[in-house]
């Protein structure tokens, strides 16, 4: 039904697709998997008409449609749901869905008929959203349903979803799977872009694996295993975090919960939108412990981490590092006291993309690399860079390259090396790790997890925040679930599971 062959696409010197291909049969759920940067999104944007391929052929329903544009694709029933929502927050659900395809009567909008059409569509697909509510007031899961409805409203029979579960809680994910199966059973075709193997196994019928812009494998879900898919994705054998979740291979300390190395007491923090983004949180992380925070994004995790790191002001409460109150100290003072921080967004905070690897390796420690008159000690910066690049295997190993030029995994290694490597004569005692493996390849995930475990073994206190529940489950000694700015429950890592945590993550269960 859909056939892409020999697709080439370059952006400047970057070859996003090189001879990539894809075959999707009508009425199936097809998973397009690969690591970040493998060219999945690019290929699908070519299919949906957003990009034009440099070479290759696109066929839909045996018709050559190479080089078509978005409008042609929509007319032919091919629609894409993007990773980042493209909705107008101040408009209602119906207004958003019909935007650009408004139901008119003369010059005026026919709201009644639009509402009626919406209800019919929702009934048919099982996608329920309150139609008269403003999009700004919806949950993330609801907003995503609006995106899907928008695409279906325009008559899409082929639905392309780009990493749709990144922002969903486990119950919302199961709900999405239910909807996708229903769409398929009614004759729809679905292409799902993802790099999460459990999703692939749970929902897809067939799989296409991409690596470095090329299509490297086609598999039938029923006849394969996560290990095999991972091998195709990376090109070698890897250890999967899922294999260890809840297993006995992880040694968990039974650390005491009082007298932590990091101690947070009744902390309240405001965000731009909410006065109580963090709403009275207390916990302690002991030396040699990984305390994981699970939860759907946007429940105060970012504000909590930023407050502890010293980037965001605290409304009330206190933060103690090894018994010392650091609530009012600066970022620099906290760093010198042994607080390290892997920030959740390395492109915005963790790295200065235009700066060289060497310069990024001293960010936050620049005062330890200074000579007389405030001059930077170039030699010290250079030796530090050489050491860190070797120790953490940062590639390419050229300290003068800008951070921008590195892959996600290697960029994150710069952050890890800087925060955990002990450069600038700074030994960390407490580590804040926010989304430490977001957007990095499977190989780097392995490496980063090993680093976190090594930190625990060395008696450091680690506070791990991750939207990836598998990761939290695999690493944490104790797990706190954040919902609405509070930790609603704390469970020992060995006893935790996705099923147990799920109800707390959606606020359905309270402690």
């Amino acid at each position: 039904m859909i056939r892409l062959t020999g697709i080439d696409k370059s952006f400047g010197p970057v070859r996003a697709n090189r001879g990539a291909s894809l075959d999707v049969a009508a009425g199936e759920i097809h998973a397009l998997v690969g690591e970040n940067g493998a060219g999945k999104s690019t290929l699908m944007r070519i299919l949906s008409g957003m990009f034009q391929p440099d070479a290759g052929r696109i066929e839909v329903n045996d018709r050559d449609v190479t080089g078509w544009h978005t409008a042609d694709a929509i007319a032919a029933g091919v629609g894409m749901v993007h990773q980042h929502f493209m909705l107008v927050p101040t408009l209602t659900v119906t207004e958003n869905v019909t935007l650009g395809a408004e139901v008119r009567r003369g010059m005026r909008l026919d709201r009644l008929r639009a509402e009626g059409e919406m209800r019919a569509l929702m009934q048919r697909t099982g996608l329920e959203v309150p139609t008269t509510r403003r999009v700004a007031d919806l949950t993330v899961g609801e907003a995503q349903r609006v995106e899907i409805l928008k695409t279906l409203y325009r008559g899409a029979r082929v639905l392309i979803l780009d990493e749709p579960t990144a922002v969903l809680s486990p119950p919302e994910v199961s709900e999405l799977w239910r909807v996708l199966r229903r769409l398929r059973d009614e004759g729809g075709t679905i292409v799902l872009i993802t790099h999460k193997l459990d999703e692939v196994m749970a929902i897809s019928d067939t799989i296409t694996v991409m690596r470095q812009g090329e299509t490297v494998g086609r598999l039938k879900t029923a006849e394969t295993s996560p290990q095999e898919i991972a091998r195709e994705m990376v090109g070698r054998d890897v250890t999967l975090a899922t294999a260890q979740a809840g297993g006995s291979s992880v040694q968990r300390s039974t650390a005491p919960t009082s007298s932590g190395l990091l101690d947070v007491r009744d902390l309240r923090v405001a965000s731009a939108r909410r006065d109580n983004a963090v709403d009275g949180i207390s916990f302690a992380v002991a030396p040699g412990e990984i305390f994981g925070i699970a939860g759907v994004e946007g429940n105060g995790q970012t504000e909590l981490i930023e407050a502890i790191a010293g980037i965001r002001q605290v409304t009330s409460g206190s933060i103690l590092l090894d018994g010392q109150d650091i609530t009012r100290t600066t970022v620099r003072q906290r760093g010198d006291l042994g607080l390290s921080h892997i920030p959740e967004d390395r492109h915005e905070r963790g790295l200065i993309l235009e700066y060289s690897i060497a310069d990024n390796l001293i960010l936050g420690q620049q005062h330890h690399f200074t000579k007389k008159l405030g001059a930077l000690d170039g030699e010290h910066v250079a030796t530090n860079a050489r050491d860190m690049i070797a120790k953490y295997d940062i590639r390419p190993a050229d300290p003068a390259l800008p951070a921008r030029a590195l892959s996600g995994g290697n960029q994150q290694k710069i952050v890890i090396a800087r925060e955990m490597g002990g450069g600038g004569a700074r030994e960390f005692r407490v580590l804040l790790a926010a989304q430490p493996t977001r957007g990095v390849d499977v190989g780097a995930i392995e490496f980063i997890h090993a680093q976190l475990r090594a930190a625990r073994a060395a008696g450091k206190a680690v506070l791990l925040v991750s939207a990836d529940l598998t990761e939290v489950l695999a690493l944490s000694d104790r797990i706190g679930v954040m919902y609405g700015g509070r930790i609603v429950t704390t469970i020992a890592g060995a006893q935790a599971s996705a099923e147990k945590l799920g109800p707390y993550m959606t606020g359905a269960a309270a402690a």
């Binding site: 970040n36 235009e354 921008r404």
Partner: protein, 375 residues
Amino acid sequence: MNRAKLEEALLPPVVALLVAVIVGDVLIISFGQSPAAVYRQLLEGTWGNAYGLGQVLYKATTLTFTGLSVAYALRAGLFNIGAESQLAAGGFAAAFVGLALPAGIPALIVLPVYVLAAGLAGGIVGGIPGALKAKFGAHEVITTIMLNFIVLALLNYLISARFKVHDTLHTAEIRSGALPRLADFSGPFHGSAANLVLLLALVLAAVVWWFLFRTRPGFELRAVGLQPEAAEYGGVSVGGVWWRAMAVSGAIAGIGGLNYVLGYKHYYEEGFGAGAGFLGIAVALVGRNHPVGVVIAAILFGTLSQGGLAVNALVPKQMVDVLQAVVIIAMATAVPEVRRALLSVRGAGRGARGAKPPQDARVPLPASRVPRVPQ
């Protein structure tokens, strides 16, 4: 600097100049002249004789100061449109000090006093928008533009009410510290305004380069300019960098006032800057915010300014203004720092996060650096 980096730095200004030349050709032809003749005249009137060269150097000196001023602020992510009034304030402060000093002190001894006075005055005029930005998030483009009106009007008032020599728009001459002109060393420069403040401009360019690229505060300033969130994460006080950068930027422009007051006329005159502050924006853009680039661009724009006078017989000298404007527009379109500074209406370090581009569109990787898994 490797080849790719050099290309990235040089390509936009070269293209901007090419566009300007094309527009210039059209204008010249529309005036019924031959482009070749006009450009020859332009070069002969500037680099073709010592007087013309002296005038070019004089203009380039002021432009180096204002260009460095704008470039310095842009490195911190700030767009200083106030160099015009900062320059004037510096010039006035120098004249004010010069009138108060006893006569006959050697120039070398009083020079630091003048630099301090001019820098302080420019620094205050620049520091106010910086502090407003750091404290309240007021956009520096708006505040510096508005402050131009206030400061220039205030200076005009002071001159006409208190300091002017009868029937003129300038103060009396300073009593000591006047610096020699180039003509004092070499006869052919006679009549031209070029003077030893030229050396001060070059020294300052070197100091700014060293500060920006070789010191810790410079490292932090550039970090704030590129990614304020990352700088904040790295323990840098973003608001602190903002107001200090604006104050220093203002001070650099202020010291530029010495070129006129110490080196040329030896008094402050209303409107002596003649747009050099605004032209400093173009100098910074064409110079890619690099001190070396700024010096080269200042010479280029100095040549154009003086060249406008030289070709006045063939085409209206405003043609050169048009060319300068074309260069500015072309550069402003091409230079990312400017776009960033103009787009940043964010408050002091916090506020709503802007929309982010999709992840794979954000960091294009060269083909040779396609992500690879460590073996």
